[in-house]
């Protein structure tokens, strides 16, 4: 039968690649919904914890709610309110971004093969997907001008970090303090971004972060 973990990981990688190539902000937000849900589903399908208590299950549901509904909704509101539709002149073009995505995954395969971590079988892909997501998020933050795309890059980075956490900790613990911390961080970050975006937009009539360089005392 089809291997669900790998299928979800492949979907995450697909979403990373599409996010590198997408010009529309709304499309980007939709891709983040897909990625958020896929990332939060991963722990449920990993082999080494077949039995999950009710606590973790509730936690993962909350996770899906936050990553798949709450954060995208906030992003969506931000996109609507500042009335921007697309990234017009990124620092690094879309073709070059997709090519960079290829290089990133090549490098992450290389890194995973050479780290020689004692991962359970079948989780090497998890690490590859995690490193790729993280690095691509980082790249997205650097390569785009609009504040909102940079926040989406940050979200991708966090997704990658979460995946790395899942790959390495094997979820032997029952307390999800770190995960909740990350989520809270993200949520606050996105909310603050919304407020700041609004302010940048009223001050400059645009949310291009390069405009901030013009600020003088």
């Amino acid at each position: 039968m089809i291997n669900f973990t790998e299928a979800i990981l492949v979907i995450i990688l697909l979403s990373v690649l599409f996010s590198l190539g997408s010009t529309r902000l709304l499309a980007l937000v939709r891709i983040m919904v897909l990625q958020g849900v896929a990332v939060s589903l991963i722990p449920l399908f990993l082999k080494d914890h077949g039995t999950l208590g009710s606590g973790p299950i509730i936690f993962f549901q909350v996770m899906i709610l936050i990553k798949g509904v709450l954060i995208p909704a906030l992003l969506y509101l931000a996109v609507k309110r500042v009335a921007i539709k697309r990234e017009i002149e990124p620092f690094i073009g879309y073709h070059a971004s997709i090519m960079t995505g290829l290089v990133i995954i090549l490098v992450s395969v290389f890194i995973t093969n050479h780290l020689r971590l004692s991962l359970p079988t079948g989780q090497a892909t998890l690490l590859i997907a995690a490193i790729t997501t993280m690095a691509s998020g980082f790249f997205l933050m650097m390569a785009r001008k609009k504040a909102i795309t940079q926040v989406i890059g940050y979200l991708m980075l966090e997704n990658g970090i979460y995946l790395i956490g899942t790959a390495l900790t094997k979820h032997s613990h029952t307390l999800y303090i770190v995960e909740f911390g990350v989520l809270l961080d993200l949520l606050v970050g996105v909310m603050i971004m919304g407020i700041i975006l609004n302010n940048i937009n009223t001050a400059f009539d645009d949310v291009d972060t390069t405009l901030l360089g013009r600020l003088k005392d």
Binding site: I2, V10, F18, G21, G101, L102, I105, V109, T125, I128
Partner: protein, 305 residues
């Protein structure tokens, strides 16, 4: 016997499915839409007509439609529809077949150039540019399949010991291949978002503008060739999605045509909910499909061995 039968059904049924696309599009537009058999009626109508040839054209122009239909037909001979053995098969036939399809396109292009119409030259240039990019994707898919399965022919891909399918050992990687093959399908068959088959303005056409000067039976041959090409790509995707074992022939056939209908429906849906890309965004679309399979090919190096 079974292979002749499945091929005959495929050849006869291919013009039916574009009707599904039209139906889906009509459904989204809230219209009733043309009858399902519309393409058969169109073909019959075109075959009854006479052809008009411009004085400026040569024998190349009349050669175009025949060669493009023939190349699309030859591909079908090699394809194992619904798991039945294909009529012909040899090691490495995929490469030959993709080049044969390129020959078909080449003749369509030179027939278009032969008319000396500036619009047709423009359409030919676009068609060749985009299909060159799509070729990179196709051959990366072949590389991926070679790594997964170690074979280079359609029959070995789908009917051999270790068939390539979603349910297989490294099936997850095929998600990449399916998505990018669908993108290639849209590109190669001039569908939205790359090209709009329903457009009426020569300046925005890609494939349609190349066949503007063909009429009557010539146009029918070109249309038929296009149906076979679309059918081939959808059959390719179908085989990736569902493994067809030899055990039960009839139910295989039914499932095969249901999945094909779903794929055509997906094409129709894409056309209904998407606008076509600006010309300068099309290379990005094709490049994304290339990047997807390349991702998958890289992953075979690392872990999916």
């Amino acid at each position: 016997m079974e292979s002749y039968l499945s091929l005959a059904i495929a050849i006869l049924a291919a013009p039916l499915f574009p009707g599904i696309i039209l139906k889906v599009k009509a459904f989204f537009a809230g219209k009733k839409g043309p009858p399902l058999l519309i393409k058969y009626y169109t073909l019959a109508k075109l075959l009854q007509k006479g052809s008009v040839y411009s004085n400026s054209t040569s024998f190349v122009f009349t050669l175009g439609p025949t060669v493009s239909l023939a190349s699309a037909l030859v591909v079908l001979l090699f394809f194992p529809f619904a798991g039945a053995d294909p009529l012909f098969s040899f090691h490495g036939d995929v490469i030959v077949l993709f080049y044969l399809m390129a020959i078909g396109r080449f003749f369509t292009v030179i027939a278009a150039l032969d008319t000396a119409s500036p619009f047709e030259g423009m359409g030919a240039a676009r068609e060749v540019f985009f299909s060159t990019l799509a070729e990179a994707t196709i051959f990366t898919i072949l590389i991926l399949f070679y790594r997964l399965n170690g074979s280079l022919s359609f029959a070995e891909y789908f009917t051999g010991e270790n068939p390539i399918s979603l349910a297989g050992a490294s099936g997850a990687l095929l998600l990449f291949a399916i998505v990018s093959l669908f993108m290639v399908l849209l590109t190669e068959n001039s569908r939205v978002p790359v090209d709009d088959p329903a457009t009426h303005l020569e300046l925005t056409m890609i494939h349609e503008v190349m066949i503007l000067d063909h009429s009557g039976p010539d146009l029918a041959l070109i249309e038929l060739g296009a149906f076979y090409k679309l059918f081939f790509y959808s059959a390719f995707i179908t085989h990736l999605m569902y493994p067809f074992t030899l055990a039960h022939g009839i139910s295989n056939g039914v499932i095969f045509y249901i999945i094909i209908a779903i794929i055509y429906g997906a094409v129709g849906m894409t056309e209904s909910i998407m606008a076509r890309y600006k010309m300068n965004l099309v290379p990005k679309f094709i490049l994304t499909s290339f990047a997807l399979v390349f991702f998958a090919a890289i992953l075979t190096m690392g872990v999916f061995q």
